[in-house]
Amino acid sequence: MSDILAVQLGPLRLVNPIITASGTFGYGVEYADIMDVSRLGGISVKGISLEPRAGNPPPRVCETPGGMLNSIGLANIGYDAFVDRTMPVLRRMGATVIVNIYGTSHDEFAELARRFDKVEGVAALEVNISCPNVKEGGIHFGVSGKSASGVTRAVREVTSLPVIVKLSPEALDLPDIGKAVQDAGADAISMINTFRGMSIDVETRKPRLGAVMGGLSGPAIRPLAVRMVYQVFKAVNIPIIGMGGIACFRDVLEFFLAGASAVQVGTANFTDPTIAVKIVDEFEEYCGARGIHPADLIGKVEIQEVK
């Protein structure tokens, strides 16, 4: 494997800038039979909480034009099972593991960060202050600069791991939140999580999700995500990991040009479970053929100034 795509996100070095997005790639171990996950820049695992979570009432997923709604509700196996059972497998597979963490309070976030700090094989933490599908915590931490920086600081103080803070598209002023988490010590920003959406079956007159509302992801949200990355890029100095509807390699270029230094591939993993490694191959070919490095593309959208 060549490192012509290697990127440096603050203290975090990745073999390439293609990461699989939290919640859309399980714990990574499920893919052992169909691909070599060590070829990915990283795997952001399903959001982990201190205790296991059962999740929301079904139905939990439904397809919508160009995307899907989900109301999983952060169903996960919890810290202990993840560290005892899953991490050893991920280490053996040579995966670059980014642990997405979720808590309902500053204390829970800090406790998770403190514990993961000592776990071998964790490359970085991604702090999820943007889940739309849980009653407590989640998105509430991500919509104001004050609460976002509070959580970021709580995590920063107890870990030496690279800290990525994942932003919600529903924040009132995203550039402002971006600055707030940067000032609170975040090493990078990942954006965006899903938008709250709703779909109704007009025959039965019932919502198509058991939890009524859910998070919208997929190509339908891509232009919104690109716009947001562009806005936040102009406001912060730390690297941005862009995501939202990436379905092919050209979409990756779009996020880089808007200001991303790396990307995450989410819903597209469901369309084709091997899509992320295919994108790595295509990116490598593109950069190789042109003699460029991904970093040369960051924020290079050409905008004509109108005089």
Partner: protein, 256 residues
């Protein structure tokens, strides 16, 4: 689990609004009755999610039976021989075949739920076990594969409108069968209300019953946690990885 690009090798319309797709890749298609595959045609960006289908046949070629009910199944039905198909599978846990079949085996199908049971019937016949096949539909035009089933098993058909076979629900012949075969193994797939009735009748008779369930899915491989259903104990179970086949008592309980 495997993931491969395949091509449609053959297609057949076994009843109105149904199509059987045979596909073939570089390697043989494996799987057990009750397991499924996630399938997507090479149709561009929309729809983005693959669709789940039970395996009907495995071997050099694999086959699925598709009932045309919406956008994705419509696209699949309009594909042609030679078209590219993306197939992920075999997925999930299929039916567990009884080691002891002396008490008899009943396969109870409703509608397109016939798919995994045709595969199961073939497996049983290959092992020298001849199951009874109880096949219910709304009307006689909705009975794909009935001739094939008739060739290999003892087939009883029920239709709600009485156009073919017995008029009524498939639970009626099942109750009769269980009166003489109370220790039978029952396998069922179909609409949830039917499964619940089949489970109730079977458990009341003392028979062991397995049911294959459906639930909306995104990944089909245990990663998204989207396919949850509530079991009899009030816990969430995942159709794609804990199922699709379950012991009926796990889902519907023991109460009549």
């Amino acid at each position: 689990m495997d993931y491969f690009k395949t091509r449609i090798t053959r297609m057949e319309i076994p009843a109105r609004d149904h199509v059987i797709l045979w596909f073939r890749g570089d390697c043989p298609v494996e799987g057990d009755p009750g397991q499924f595959v996630m399938v997507r045609g090479n149709w561009g960006a929309h729809p983005i999610l693959p669709r789940a289908f039970s395996l009907v046949e495995v071997g050099k070629e694999g086959a699925i039976l598709v009932r045309n009910v919406g956008e994705g199944t419509n696209l699949l039905a309009s594909m042609k021989q030679g078209d590219e198909l993306l197939v992920l599978g075999p997925l999930g846990r299929g039916f567990s075949l009884p080691s002891e079949t002396g008490g008899g085996v009943a396969l109870v199908a409703g509608g397109v739920g016939v798919a995994p049971l045709v595969f199961l019937a073939q497996r049983l016949v290959d092992k020298g076990v001849k199951p009874v096949f109880l096949y219910g539909a709304r009307t006689g035009a909705d009975l794909p594969l009935r001739d094939h089933i008739d060739e290999i098993c003892d087939l009883t058909i029920t239709t709600e409108d009485g156009s073919v076979g017995e008029k009524g629900l498939v639970t009626a012949p099942l109750e009769r069968f269980l009166q003489t075969n109370p220790t039978a193994s029952v396998f069922s797939c179909g609409p949830e209300a039917m499964l619940e009735a089949v489970a109730r009748v079977s458990v009341a008779a003392g028979a062991r019953c397995q049911v294959a369930l459906e639930s909306p899915m995104a990944c089909g491989m245990g990663v998204c946690k989207g396919c949850a259903i509530l079991d009899a104990a009030g816990e969430y179970r995942y159709v794609c990885s804990d199922g699709p086949a379950f012991e009926s008592v796990e889902i519907f309980g023991r109460e009549p």
